[in-house]
Symmetry: C2
């Protein structure tokens, strides 16, 4: 495993009072990294506060350490830790930021702006991989909850070890967690497969709506307002719904349209290389990147269909190998 | 990683002519183990024949080594290798079995009967984990196709590293494969997520049919004959359809009824601990085990509903902790 720079380890050994911040809408990697590092620092008799946006996804609510989140903050800390945040603007922060001797950034995003006084930024599968290596460098003993936290972070941010961000180190770390607990099968099920009935039915409705545009490898799915209301609102549209289109063999571009209010759509686009759907999102004031982007839309859905077909056809004209 | 016994390594070093056999309906672990070990032995200038049941699942057909399967067999071999077969009866074998000096069994099933002259049987996530360690003991160089083969075997037999059969060694081996190829993301997608349009629509229809019996944690799904025909027949009912019920939070027992001919149902049952649905399957002349069983049925579906509710209620009466 790659070594953590000495100055990072020294900073965590020398200081006593920590505040942990995460990105907005914290995911498995953010929550897992916070809990593993927070508990590790407490084991070394440091004081640790957490300032974290709620609500936290149901599937992550099993950690006992969550009871320690969002207690009264101090006016100043030795170290403010920014975990899994590519920029300070993306962090969920208190309105009045406490003072700190050091801002320490620990993150795995390529786009990280190195906005800390100290930055431990590496391109890994999950931020928790860096956290795990820090804990090892600090000679902290990994307990079962910390092991669950690191496993949760890695398995959610790597799509159960399937994404291109997985490396040898990812598997070495995951493997070592089996020395703490013999099985992560129940946790994996909880994180990856389980849906409540409304989420399940919403996924079914998305599959039912799946249509292919004009014999092109473009999938369109529409969840209309009535369907969304019927199954408990947008909170029950699980992350993997947009994948329904992309996981269909032969599909290169997917658009998922969620009618969040009558006539108002939130649109999620997904594309495979070399198709660039970011430009569609930009046209409507949205954002994202070439292969995953989104925007808000009110109007005739045909307009979006035309945009999708144009992106596909233009790329095909430029690139005869498609 | 655990050491392979010396006598196994010696057998593979000393002998020259090999025949590889797998279990019937070979899966990712069987095919992957065969290709990795077969190519490894060829690298050591051994001759290797494969006798393997076809058709092989579409998602596994990308291996070039498959071109070497099922060529003319010899009358005798030095070693017949039984890979991933818990018993010799479960192996897919030629009508006239060639002679062999040694029958060598390499397998990871708990129930393995140790039916070989030599047996390398260990409880691992996949048989290919044992194969990988054998290849290392033989100092074989793992090429990209062999790495894909081992990865395919492990990821399919462990449900993408989610099942309780995963160990530290599983991850160590998976990690080492990243030294051969930087990413297994495309392969993972191919193996786990992709469905053709008919498979996707069939899954959607199964979700649409999902109902809960009488406020009990019992899920019922019915794919009627017209739906099955509409989406290309039972071949397009993918393995994970029965999971739709079991992955719904709160569900303990699932029945999937596939109307394969008008009025004729193939029934798949799934249960969580401590519910035993095997007895229902036995009642109708089917088989399986306590948590997964199946049978054929012609009659009023209400009869099956009653059986499911009885299993649930009887267990609840016996066990007050439910």
């Amino acid at each position: 495993m790659k070594k953590i720079p000495d100055e990072i380890v020294a900073c965590l050994k020398e200081n006593e009072e920590y505040l942990i911040l995460l990105h907005q809408k914290p995911d498995g990697d953010a929550i897992g990294s916070a809990i593993a590092l927070g508990k590790g620092l407490k084991q070394l008799n440091k004081s640790v506060d957490y300032y974290i946006e709620t609500p936290i996804e149901d599937k992550l609510l099993f950690f006992e350490e969550i009871d320690c989140f969002n207690r009264q903050l101090k006016e100043s800390y030795d170290v403010i830790l920014f975990l899994d945040c590519s920029s300070s603007g993306f962090a969920y922060s208190p309105q009045t930021m406490p003072k700190a001797k050091v801002k320490l950034v620990i993150d795995h995003h390529k786009s990280n702006a190195h906005y800390g006084d100290l930055n431990c930024v590496e391109i890994t599968g999950a931020t928790a991989e860096i956290v795990y290596r820090i804990l090892k460098a600090l000679a902290v003993e990994i307990d079962e909850e910390m092991a669950d936290a690191v496993f949760t972070a890695i398995t959610t941010d790597t799509g159960s070890f399937q994404f291109s961000n997985v490396t040898n180190d990812t598997h070495i770390i995951a493997g070592e967690l089996y020395k703490v607990k013999p099985s992560y099968a129940n946790l994996s099920k909880r994180l990856h497969n389980q849906k409540n009935m409304d989420q399940m039915k919403m996924t079914g409705a998305a599959i039912h709506s799946l249509e292919i545009l004009d014999s092109m490898p473009i999938a369109l799915m529409v969840l209309d307002y009535d369907t969304i209301v019927k199954y408990g609102g947008t909170i029950n549209i699980s992350d993997d719904v947009a994948n329904v289109g992309q996981n269909t063999i032969g599909v290169a571009i997917t658009a998922l349209l969620k009618e969040v209010r009558p006539g108002d759509y939130r649109v999620s686009l997904r594309a495979k290389f070399p198709f660039d759907i970011h430009k569609i999102a930009l046209k409507y004031g949205g954002g994202g990147h070439e292969r995953a982007a989104g925007f808000n839309f009110r109007g005739d859905i045909q307009e979006i269909k035309d945009d999708l077909m144009e992106v596909y056809q233009t790329q095909c004209e430029q690139d005869e190998t498609i």
